[in-house]
Subunit: 141 residues, 2 copies
DNA sequence: TCTTGAACCTACAGCAACGTCAGCTTGCAG
DNA sequence: CTGCAAGCTGACGTTGCTGTAGGTTCAAGA
């Protein structure tokens, strides 16, 4: 299977596949006579794993760790669980902060909803005004 | 006020301040005889605006637009409102997707919570198994 | 007045996680 | 056999900074 077919089957772009190979997530596949990559079922499964984990927001670093664990036998459970639940913690944290942010943004945007021309815009002022700010002053993303 | 003092007062790092100047968010300040930057109140206010907007997750591009609006008089309202509410939409979208993600991660992590050694780890398999995946297959971040 | 040493300067490299481009080669259908 | 889609490598661009190297300036203490 050439790289384009693998890309089509997994929904991962060709360039991204080559990138994953370059950073060591995907093993180097066989090559055709003309030096083109030829993939098999194993590659497709591994790439599907990677894509799914990326969709779930795991970093490449975490995925590397998970893949290393999955290569080794079954003493991997604790480590895998640690990675997954740390990530779950991150996600919950991010949700909490985004909700604070949502509230503040809504308040700011609402300050200008009155009319089309009638409003003297408060958005700029609201953004400049730290006193009215209720969120926790950490970068949200 | 030298750059370090500005950094201290606003909570923005020195390097970041120089970066904002470089990308045109902050105007070039006066210099001392020895070519060091000297800032005033205006710079501090503008930087506070920038920091707050960044904390709220606005991109540098959006901030550039907002700053341009705030420089011009008062016909800016509609545009500012559009930027802010577009961003609010993005935030709500991200929250929704993170909550789906949270559910899936929780399910995955829970599949291994039974015992310390007793579990034969399902996390790796769960990550590999697209069939059990309920979320919407878009990158969450 | 001199001398430290912290703070400042410029210019550039690097981070994640890819995307994009140029310029070339290969594979396959008609 | 020819034409062109698909593949190749290598390098650079993206966003929003952070950090480094190697030098200069400032302010305070001896």
């Amino acid at each position: 299977m050439p790289i384009g077919a693998l890309a089509g089957q997994t929904g991962v772009k060709v360039e991204t596949i080559r990138y994953y190979e370059q950073v060591g997530l995907l093993p180097e596949p066989e090559r055709s006579e003309g030096n083109q990559r030829r993939y098999g079922r194993r590659h497709r499964e591994r790439l599907a794993f990677i894509k799914h984990a990326r969709d779930l927001g795991f970093t490449v670093e975490s995925i590397r760790a998970l893949l290393k664990l999955s290569d080794k036998p079954n003493m991997a459970c604790d480590d895998a669980h640690a990675i997954a639940s740390a990530h779950l913690g991150d996600v919950r944290d991010k949700i909490a902060r985004l909700r604070l942010l949502e509230g503040e943004l809504q308040r700011i945007a609402a300050s200008c909803l009155g009319g089309v021309n009638a409003c003297d815009c408060k958005i700029i002022e609201a953004l400049a005004d730290h006193a009215r700010c209720h969120h926790d002053h950490g970068r949200v993303v």
